[in-house]
Amino acid sequence: TSGKPSLTGDSDTVSLQSVMLVGDSGVGKTCLLVRFKDGAFLAGSFISTVGIDFRNKVLNVDGVKVKLQIWDTAGQERFRSVTHAYYRDAHALLLLYDVTNRASFDNIQAWLSEIHEYAQQDAVLMLLGNKVDSTQDRVVKREDGEKLAKEYGVPFMETSAKSGLNVDLAFTAIAKELKHRSMKLPNEPKFKLHDYVKKEVRGSGCCR
């Protein structure tokens, strides 16, 4: 119901922006959110998400407070009719797959068509390949993720909720994009999400 993002009365605060986490069951949506929100990862302490839930977090982006309302959804197919209703209010969506689970990667196209059907056309979208800490179990190569992301023109990065790799970056990048969109300062250079992600992203291998 909130429509376009806009400035609130407070000149250094961007009004509430809603971000949705989507992707197959078990890809790590809740873990990613908890890592970002609380900086914690407790192995084996997460329960499967039923329905939909959200947490708020305020990020400081270049001196401006951006309030994110992050929606965590159940990945299982039958819950989608419940979560569809929330797509249209999402300013951004983080679409996750699990690099140790081929099926979750193969389903990305189905998720994308769902997003195109239900979300706002101008919603910010980013593809994340999660669980890259599990190097031995990896079945989806980084190149595969990159290729798919390029095909759909979506920024991409690999993450690990366990090690924390790129988790803050994913949310910060989204927050920056949303901030720039809502403030539109005349003298500011246009923010390029793709370039920013490419520049800031860290690999899971040697360069960490």
Partner: protein
């Protein structure tokens, strides 16, 4: 640090006030245990009757819980009429996708319960796996029982949330075949298609609750409307998980006692009691996230921990709530949802 069911108590668990409550509750439990053992010594002790209903509302002692749930839900009768059926399901051919879905949730079902840890001995994960695998394949079979035949004809049938229901049943019965038949009683008969692919029963009941709140606690309904909060957001887990992980374990079990005997109406009674009791508190909310937060907070604290008083409240606080009213609301809400095309999403 661990409660009698194996759940680890949170770091900030208030032992003082819990002890204070429990010492009072022990008196009730003892009195009920004596009454129940007398009742069960008589023949036909648990035929449905006004007396048994009253007894159940006052709580089934844990040592009899599995037995009474089995009898009053009809699970016992179904199990006896279909001897060997459960094992046949386990021995039969398995669907890979279903097995995969079940495995995904294995480590995510009660990680805070020591009995469900991989390292536990005996480990209830295998039991849970069996019950879910059997249940997932069970509904493909047509014709073993009237109700299931009508509701489910095709496809695999597993659903996030079911793992929690099955987990609780296993903790109480300590028997996988009984857990299976109780799960069947809950999902196949007691709950109106909450767990069907389109979740129409669930969506309907969420709207029904909304209407009941409009009738009984109008200010809260108005608040929800004003801020555009959909009921599904704040209550879907109440319905899907039947208050597991929402309310304290002992309170959930007391609710389930009534649920198995009296049916899904109990869910509305609990929900309405929570909302009505905390009306003033909920109305303090001034925005969307605030409202959601209030709905989380009203499920915590002494009001819900004191399960015996709470269960008395659910039969008085919401006022009269006839099955006729609920059925009528279910009909109109379902029709509205169908008109909105909510079945087409799947």
């Amino acid at each position: 640090r661990v409660d009698p069911y194996g759940f680890e108590r949170p770091e900030d668990f208030d032992y003082m006030s819990y002890e204070e409550f429990f010492s009072r509750y022990m008196v009730v439990l003892t009195r009920r245990a004596i009454k129940w053992s007398k009742l069960l010594k008589r023949n036909n002790g648990v035929q449905k009757s006004v007396k048994v209903k009253r007894y159940i509302r006052k709580g089934i002692p844990n040592e009899h819980r599995a037995l009474i749930w089995m009898i009053v839900s009809g699970a016992q009768a179904n199990m006896e009429q279909n001897a060997g059926y459960y094992n046949k399901l386990l021995e039969g051919e398995k669907n890979d996708m279903l097995v995969e879905a079940i495995k995904t949730d294995m480590n995510r079902t009660f990680p805070d319960n020591v009995q469900f840890r991989k390292t536990a001995d005996p480990c209830l994960q295998q039991t849970l796996y069996n019950v879910l695998v059997a249940y997932g394949h069970h509904n493909k079979t047509v014709g073993y029982c009237q109700v299931s035949k009508d509701i489910i004809k095709k496809t695999l049938f597993l659903f996030q949330g079911m793992n929690f229901l099955a987990g609780y049943l296993i903790l109480i019965t300590k028997n996988e075949e009984e857990s299976f038949w109780l799960l069947d009683a809950l999902i196949g008969r007691i709950l109106p298609d909450y767990y069907s692919p389109a979740m129409m029963g669930l969506k309907t009941d969420q709207e029904v609750l909304g209407e009941l709140v409009r009738m009984k606690v109008p200010a809260v309904a108005e608040l929800m409307d004003r801020h555009g909060v959909m009921w599904t957001l704040v209550v879907s887990r109440w319905f899907i998980c039947l208050f597991i992980d929402i309310l304290p374990v002992e309170t959930v079990l007391r609710i389930w006692d009534c649920l198995f005997y009296e049916g899904s109406k109990i869910i509305f009674r609990v929900a309405l009691t929570l909302i009505k009791q905390h009306q003033a508190f909920i109305l303090e909310a001034t925005n969307f996230p605030d409202i959601c937060d209030k709905f989380k907070q009203i499920t915590r604290g002494t009001f819900v921990t004191e399960c015996h008083t709470f269960m008395q409240k659910i039969f008085t606080e919401p006022g009269s709530l006839s099955m006729a009213t609920i059925n009528k609301l279910r009909e109109t809400c379902r029709a509205k949802l169908v008109a909105q095309g909510s079945t087409n999403n799947i």
